[in-house]
């Protein structure tokens, strides 16, 4: 099969030769990060340059939505949509930690985002795409009314402008503070994607760590192409819930991307460094390469099966360290 080609860009993955020893341990925490999988101490700026992928064990650290956008979109191509759509508090919800509306304001200040979903248009290797990205730092990327509304608008616009949709999905579950409004966003988003499909426009879903509850139980797992990042935890019910309900020990690797691949739920597990090229190749397959650009990836991609046989490092995920909420 053909060579799997490397991307030139801000986040170009390090080659093995660039690895550093883990001996300098006296440096301040904000400069050094310990890899939760292999224990390696990594220099923050170098980790950033490597798209927050551990150069030693390939562990994929979580990215913020903005980091994800800058990783995937061509420079300065991202145009945000509907950033002024903000959450409301229709139930006047007050829980043990206080009122929901105060929680929103605090979270908005802390994160600098108005909500947990960012939508817009972008180009990937020159191809126009609607890009929808979850922000896990905003209340655990819980899906509430704003998520549904912004998603529906973005997908409707994709239909109007005949663009493909890329969703980057992380979620801790439903936004319980919005009660049944929150659950109904599963219906609202699936309706939007049904319409996208009727218009024969492709939806690419990228599942990243962690992705639980109503997001994978609605639009995020019925995309035309299902991709996951190595080691990402993905499922319906959260691991703590399952352990409590079943009183069974969870099998090793349970709910990892590798587990989902084995069980037939996703098409490929793709290293962060190869995502852009995979997406732009997919767009060309479904919509044709844009005039003048030609086929970007002239040398082709290797089959995922082949790839795994070579890149053995992602075949053996360590014990899952991330715990998440989820829907029961």
């Amino acid at each position: 099969m053909r060579n799997f080609f490397q991307r030139q860009g801000k986040f170009r993955p390090l080659s093995k030769g660039d690895e550093r020893s883990a001996e300098q341990q006296q440096i301040p925490e904000d400069l050094w990060v310990k890899c939760p999988k292999c224990g390696e101490l990594l220099y923050s700026r170098e980790l950033e340059r490597n798209a927050r992928v551990c150069p030693k064990c390939s562990h994929h650290f979580r990215l913020s939505a903005r980091e994800r956008i800058s990783l995937l979109a061509d420079s300065d191509s991202f145009q945000e949509w509907d950033s002024t759509v903000s959450p409301q508090d229709p139930l006047k919800f007050v829980d043990g930690q206080g009122p929901y509306d105060e929680k929103i304001v605090k979270t908005q200040k802390k994160t600098g985002e108005t909500e947990s979903l960012i939508t817009g248009s972008a180009r990937i290797n020159g191809r126009p795409v609607v890009m929808v990205v979850a922000e896990f730092n905003f209340l655990g990327a819980s899906m509430g009314s704003v998520w549904g509304e912004k998603m529906a608008r973005a997908v409707e616009r994709a239909v109007e402008e005949r663009m493909p949709v890329l969703t980057v999905n992380a979620s801790g579950g439903a936004r319980m503070h919005e009660g049944l409004f929150s659950l109904m966003q599963m219906a609202k988003t699936i309706a939007a994607f049904h319409r996208l499909g009727e218009n024969r426009l492709p939806h690419f879903s990228l599942l990243v760590d962690p992705c639980y509850g109503g997001v994978p139980a609605s639009y995020a797992t019925v995309a035309d192409v299902m991709i996951a990042e190595p080691g990402a935890l993905i499922g319906f019910a959260g691991q703590r819930v399952i352990e409590q309900v079943t009183r069974q020990k969870l099998p090793e690797g349970f709910q990892t991307a590798e587990f989902l691949l084995e069980h037939g739920m996703i098409d490929q597990i793709v290293d962060r460094g190869n995502l852009r090229d995979l997406i732009s190749t997919l767009i060309d397959h479904y919509l044709g390469a844009p005039q003048g650009l030609g086929s970007y990836s002239a040398n082709g991609l290797r089959s995922a099966t082949e790839l795994e046989q070579t890149v053995t490092v992602v075949d053996t995920p360590g014990p899952a360290t991330t715990t998440t909420g989820g829907m029961s």
Binding site: G213, F236, I242, H263
Partner: protein, 295 residues
């Protein structure tokens, strides 16, 4: 966040909801093992029921059952969650919590109904989708998602009725119809009050407080415009099961007549109109603000 234009007005239903029960009282009523369940509705309201079983790839899930039936002179596809009334039945039916096979069967029956232009009636009554290890292995999330994707585009009229506990994604999976009716003492929630209390109050004993705060009663959801009709229960359903069942049957029949009056499976424009209305119904649910205005 407005009501469906076609919704039958409350006056037509005759009775006014009477109760002043707390949300948690209603949760208890909704979960009462003597409360009429899906098979009771099918048994009383339908004849010629032919159960259709199996997902055609792994198993048959008795927690979500369905089949062909004659309802008030019409052949329909009927399906719903079904728990048990004793321990043996509950184990067989997994306490009414569907596994992936259940959702895949539901999806199959929806496609089947579409092929033969049979209207679909669903009865919602589950604490939620099964949260077990093997359900995750066989793709619980994917199974629910595919069921939703099928349902939203199914080209026949669909009427859904919440008759007991409407629990989260497992309930939603068979709720994406053209009408969502709900019994007065049924509840419909994104998570159980117990789970919500444990997560947001860090104290499962605050379930009653959570139940109140979550706005899970039929009256709340009617006010929010999420359901299309609240069906009054002058006395709790398990105290007058036949009366309740026939009242529900009458309301379903009224909505079904209305939907079928304008529906012709061979008329593409009519089918598209049905799907467009269904789209709008869900498209507008939500509460958000934007540049000072409320959504």
């Amino acid at each position: 966040m407005t009501q469906t234009d076609e919704t039958l007005s409350q006056e037509e239903t005759g009775t006014e909801p009477t109760a002043t029960l707390s949300a948690m009282d209603r949760v208890r009523l909704a979960r009462d093992p003597q409360r009429p369940a899906t098979l009771d509705y099918i048994g009383e309201l339908c004849s010629d029921f032919v159960e259709l079983r199996g997902d055609r790839s792994f198993g048959d899930d008795c927690a979500l059952i369905g089949g062909l039936a004659t309802f008030r002179g019409r052949s329909v596809m009927v399906m719903g969650h079904q728990g048990g009334t004793n321990t043996r039945e509950n184990i067989e039916r997994n306490f009414g919590m569907p596994r992936p096979e259940g959702f895949r069967k539901a999806r199959r029956l929806m496609r089947h109904a579409q092929k033969f232009s049979l209207p679909i009636l669903t009865f919602v009554d589950t604490s939620g989708a099964d949260p077990g290890i093997s359900s995750e292995e066989r793709g619980q999330a994917t199974a629910i998602a595919e069921c939703l994707m099928q349902m939203i585009g199914t080209r026949v009229p669909i009427i859904c009725t919440v008759i007991g506990e409407g629990g989260s994604g497992g309930a939603l999976a068979i709720s994406l119809g053209d009408r969502l009716l709900m019994l007065e003492n049924a509840v419909y929630a994104v998570a159980s009050p117990e789970a919500c209390a444990a997560i947001l109050w860090k104290d499962a004993s605050k379930a009653a407080e959570a139940a109140e705060t979550m706005r899970i009663t039929a009256a709340d959801l009617d006010r929010f415009g999420i359901i299309d009709e609240l069906i009054p229960e002058p006395v709790p359903a398990h105290e007058a099961p036949r009366d309740t069942i026939y009242t529900v049957g009458d309301r379903i029949a009224a909505h079904l007549d209305m939907l079928c009056a304008t529906f012709d499976p061979d008329d593409d424009a009519g089918v598209h109109d049905l799907l467009d209305r269904r789209y709008s119904k869900f498209r507008k649910i939500g509460a958000w603000s934007e540049a000072g205005t409320e959504g």
